[in-house]
Symmetry: C2
Subunit: 194 residues, 2 copies
C-alpha cells in the first residue's frame, strides 16, 4: 500500500525551511499539552491506522464528496469536481496520516507542513497542475475539519484495541497531533497575526 510515492509528495526533496522555528513548534506542542506519552501513543496508533489508511480516507472522502461546500475546492476548469485532482490529493492525504503517526516532528517535518499550508493557499492547484476556479481552501473549513478527522479515527482504534483507556490515550495523541498540523497549515493564511 505504502510502496509507491504519491504524485507531488516532496517530503524528502530538500524543501526550504519553514518560517516556523523549532521553538515556535515547541510552544504549539506546549499549547496542546504534548507529552512523551503522547508521542509513544501516537506511534501505537500508527500501527493500527497505517494498514487501514485507505478505509480512513474512504470515510473522509465520502464526507467531503457528499458536502457541496467542501468538494467545491476540487473543481476543475469545467466547474465540476476533478476526479484526477481528488485522487492525487487523496494519495498524499493517506501519506499524511502515516507520516503524522510515524515521523519525528523535526525541521524536515516542519518544512513539509509549511509546504502543505502553501498548497492550501498560494500554491493551490500548482502541484497537481489543475486549472481550478478555486484559488485557496477556506481556512474556516480547514480548521473545522479537526472534528471529523479526530472523531472518525476512534472507531478504527476501538476495533483494534479493547482497553478503553489505551484507546483514549491513542485518540488524545491523535487529536493533539492533528491540531498542531492544522495550526501549522494555517500559517500562510494569517501572516503576522499567526
Amino acid at each position: 500500500m505504502m510502496n509507491t510515492t504519491p504524485a507531488g509528495y516532496t517530503y524528502d526533496q530538500n524543501l526550504p525551511s519553514s518560517p516556523v522555528t523549532r521553538s515556535q513548534l515547541d510552544e504549539l506542542l506546549t499549547d496542546v499539552m504534548w507529552t512523551d506519552e503522547d508521542a509513544a501513543a501516537l506511534r501505537r496508533a500508527g500501527d493500527i491506522l497505517t494498514p487501514r489508511v485507505s478505509e480512513i480516507l474512504d470515510a473522509w472522502y465520502d464526507f467531503i464528496g457528499s458536502t457541496p461546500h467542501l468538494v467545491t475546492v476540487f473543481r476543475g476548469a469545467d466547474g465540476e469536481p476533478d476526479a484526477d485532482y481528488l485522487a492525487r490529493v487523496r494519495a498524499r492525504f493517506e501519506r499524511w496520516v502515516v507520516d503524522l503517526c510515524t515521523r519525528d516532528f523535526d525541521e524536515q517535518w516542519l518544512a513539509y507542513q509549511e509546504e502543505i499550508g502553501l498548497r492550501h493557499t498560494s500554491k493551490k492547484n500548482e502541484t497537481d497542475n489543475v486549472d481550478s476556479p478555486v484559488a485557496h481552501v477556506p481556512m474556516s473549513h480547514l480548521f473545522a475539519l479537526v472534528v471529523p478527522v479526530t472523531l472518525s479515527v476512534k472507531e478504527f482504534l476501538v476495533q483494534a484495541e479493547s482497553d478503553r483507556d489505551e484507546v483514549e490515550a491513542m485518540h488524545q495523541a491523535w487529536f493533539k497531533a492533528v491540531t498542531v498540523t492544522l495550526v501549522l497549515w494555517s500559517r500562510p493564511y494569517a501572516g503576522d497575526l499567526w
Copy 2:
C-alpha cells in the same frame, strides 16, 4: 455566580451583525458533524459545567499563567501580566462557557462571536482599556487551545455522570461547539482567505 454581568460583556447590546452569515454558520456546523443530539447533549453538559465554571477557569488560568508565551498577551504597559486585565477577561471567559452551553446559535450569538474575534485582533486592549504592548493574540495559540479547552472539561463531566457513553456524547458536543466558536473567532485573522 452568574448574577453579575462581566465588565465588557456586550452580548445583549445590539452589536453589528457578523459578516459571517447564517448559511456560512450552517456550513461550519456541517463540517463538525453537528446534530440535534449534539445540541441536546451540550445543554446537558451545561447543567454540569455551569455550577463549576469557576473551577474550570481555575484550571485554564493555571495553565495560561504558567505558560510564558500564553500569559504574555496579558502584559500591561510595564511589561508584566496585568492582574486586572486577567480578571476581567476571566469573567467573560466564564460567561463564554455558560453561553456556549445555553445560548442558541442564532444571529445574536454570531454577532458576539465576531466581537470576540475582534477583541483578539483589532480591538484587543480596547474593551479593558489596557495599554498593552501586545496588539493581538496570535492565531496559532488561539486555535491550539482547542485541545486543553476540550480535554480539560472531560473530568468535570466524568465526576457528574457515570455512564461513559453519555460522557462521550456531552464531550463530543462540547468539542464540536468549541471548534465552531474558535473558527468564528479566527475570521478577522484571515480576511478573504477565511
